[in-house]
């Protein structure tokens, strides 16, 4: 990519390679000299953290796959063998299992950062779109990984989620048989899920390359949301942000290690340690925690959509739930067009800030609703209603509140430059 003028390197070997393939020049340009706004806060650590988690998932996964058997009668036992007999198998499995959770924690914070500081706005729309695509692929990967141990919870999660497609009019049933390779979640399903679970992380890696490439074209956003105007506003990526990222990563990994070694099953469910039985559904099935808000959205559509007071139904409750659940992720793709307010950072948009923090709470509340049973009642309120109100707010945020604020919100005055703001904060 980097061709044209090139600074020679002192080291003869490096220079020999670089004059044939300027890969060192590329690294220096993109990771050492790369001018980066000098006012990052710790929210800017999570991209690097997510990257490390992806590599960690791939490395642990490849080793696990050397001991794992993707067959309906053997998968569960092969995972138990990993836990008991394979050298360090328990650790590798717990690293992979909890790694998925921490990967999602990092990515959720990373997405929130983007929304809070307006990083999705022009000229970073495509960068944002690649990000949402990574999020979607991660969800698919984690969902399929969860079925691999062939547990009650994993097998029934696979059944319920694949059955979502049966809601699609006309082709639904055929499509589900195609996904299963049979008439229920069974060996063919497990086999293809393993194949795809191995493949998708590498697809994610490819999209991550595009994501970072796009980032290096536009440059990073920053907490003020104003573009740097020159060298006084930036610092070289190395050593400033390599150091800051290393620090943040260390804190994050300490938390990850504490959970992996001392509380390895906090995110797990007892029914995940019982072998799958296609004849008996566990009494209370729940997805992994990172899917709970979307699960609550799915369950909150309990009504048919049609012409009121007639029997005419356009979308029945089941299909409606499916549309809402997938829509809740798809709507993220369009955020750059819902919000065309010229000011990026929520720091200077008091109303957007309130609406966004409310969305974060709303999302957490949805997660809580998703965790409880469908007919649960708390403080005399059926949780379905809570879920419905939260779902309404979730979509209203994107399609109504943000577009309205985008036209009408008056922003606070912006600082003249990043440098001015940094110096003013230092002086205060």
């Amino acid at each position: 990519m980097a061709s044209g003028k090139r600074e020679p390197f002192d080291n003869a070997f490096v220079e020999w390679v670089d004059s044939r393939l300027p890969i060192f020049t590329l690294m220096v340009k993109e990771y050492r000299a790369f001018p980066t706004p000098k006012n990052f806060n710790y929210f800017w650590n999570f991209g690097a953290i997510a990257m490390v988690m992806l590599v960690l998932m791939i490395v642990t996964g490849i080793v696990l796959a050397m001991h794992y058997t993707p067959h309906a009668t053997m998968a569960f036992n092969s995972v138990e063998r990993i836990m008991r007999d394979v050298n360090w198998g328990w650790m590798l499995r717990y690293m992979h299992m909890n790694g998925a959770s921490f990967f999602f924690i990092a990515v959720y914070i990373h997405i929130f950062r983007g929304m809070y500081y307006g990083s999705y706005k022009k000229p970073r729309e495509l960068l944002w779109i690649f990000g949402v695509l990574i999020f979607l692929l991660m969800m698919a990967t984690a969902f399929m990984g969860y079925t691999l141990p062939w547990s009650q919870m994993g097998g029934w999660a696979a059944t319920v989620i694949t059955n979502l497609f049966s809601a699609i009019p006309l082709v639904g049933e055929k499509l589900v048989a195609l996904l299963w390779g049979g008439f229920s979640v069974d060996n063919p399903t497990l086999n293809r899920f393993f194949s795809l679970h191995y493949l998708l992380p590498f697809v994610i890696l490819g999209v991550v390359v595009l994501h970072v490439w796009a980032l290096h074209v536009t440059g990073s956003n920053n907490p003020l949301g104003i573009e740097p105007n020159g060298p006084q506003d930036t610092v070289p990526f190395h050593p400033y942000y390599t150091a800051k990222d290393t620090f943040g990563l260390s804190v994050f990994l300490i938390l990850y290690v504490v959970v992996t070694f001392w509380f390895p099953n906090v995110f797990a469910h007892p029914d995940h340690f019982v072998q799958y039985d296609s004849m008996v559904t566990p009494p209370h099935i729940v997805p992994e925690w990172y899917f709970l808000p979307y699960y609550a959205i799915l369950r909150s559509i309990t009504f048919d959509i049609g012409i009121p007071f007639t029997d005419i139904v356009f979308i029945n409750a089941k299909f409606g739930g499916v549309i809402a659940m997938f829509g809740a992720v798809i709507v993220l793709f369009f955020l750059p067009w819902f919000d065309s307010h010229p000011v990026r950072s929520a720091r200077f948009r008091p109303w957007y800030k309130i609406a966004l923090l409310a969305l974060a709470l709303d999302f957490i509340l949805l997660g809580y609703v998703g965790m409880e049973t469908a007919d649960a009642v708390k403080f005399g309120i059926p949780l379905v209603y809570v879920g419905q109100i939260c779902t309404l707010y979730y979509f209203a945020f994107f399609v109504a509140i943000v577009p309205w604020l985008s036209k009408n919100e008056k922003a606070l005055p912006l600082p003249k430059s990043i440098n001015d703001a940094v110096l003013a904060a230092k002086g205060a």
């Binding site: 029934w156 059944t159 319920v160 694949t162 059955n163 979502l164 049966s166 048989a177 195609l178 996904l179 299963w180 390779g181 049979g182 008439f183 229920s184 069974d186 063919p188 293809r192 296609s278 004849m279 008996v280 559904t281 566990p282 009494p283 209370h284 099935i285 369950r299 309990t302 029945n316 409750a317 089941k318 739930g321 049973t373 469908a374 007919d375």
Partner: protein, 182 residues
């Protein structure tokens, strides 16, 4: 001499070249589509999976009021020997407000024997109600624990998110005490 012809009449040459590009592209796309089909179709149920399609069940050990679960195509099939009250209730409810209206008589070959695919029509969980101490839901049939669907003693959906009645699999009575499913 096409090239000179094209040179002489530029517009004509352009459209001709465009036409060739377009038709070559269209052929390529059709070819790729045809080639993709075997890859997609390979995901569909294979011949051996389709071959496991019938199951025979001996009904003699089932007492009135009892139910058993058998496996057909990897799915549970519920066989319930209904009591006369259950039959009466199912027939009475033919006129109730049903989401997926169907008469009880259309769902059985012999009213005493109710044969159903034991898969909730919502998202595929196995409803409870086969064992004596299972919850049977508000309508005395089955209750799906996943998202709370209630089925009646004819397996019809009465409350909850499921859109359809529990399916009746294809089956026939080989004799009075033997059925063949599939």
């Amino acid at each position: 001499m096409t090239s000179t012809a094209a040179n002489q009449n530029k517009d004509d040459g352009e459209t001709r070249r465009e036409f060739l590009f377009l038709s070559a592209g269209a052929m390529g796309a059709i070819g790729a589509g045809i080639l993709a089909w075997p890859f997609v179709d390979s995901l569909n149920p294979a011949a051996d999976t389709l071959a496991m399609a019938t199951t025979e069940v001996d009904l003699t050990p089932i007492q009135v009021g009892q139910a058993i679960t058998v496996v057909w195509r990897g799915k549970p099939v519920f066989i319930r020997r209904r009591t006369s009250e259950e039959i009466a209730k199912a027939e009475k409810d033919d006129n109730a407000d049903l989401r997926d209206p169907q008469k009880d008589s259309a769902r059985v070959k012999n009213p005493e024997w109710l044969v159903l695919v034991g898969v909730c029509t919502h998202l595929g969980c196995v409803p409870l109600g086969q064992k004596g101490n299972d919850p049977k839901g508000e309508y005395g049939g089955w209750f799906c624990p996943c998202h709370g669907s209630h089925y009646d003693s004819s397996g019809r959906i009465r409350r909850g998110p499921a859109p359809k009645n529990l399916a009746v699999p294809p089956y026939e009575f080989v004799s009075d005490t033997l059925i063949k499913i599939g």
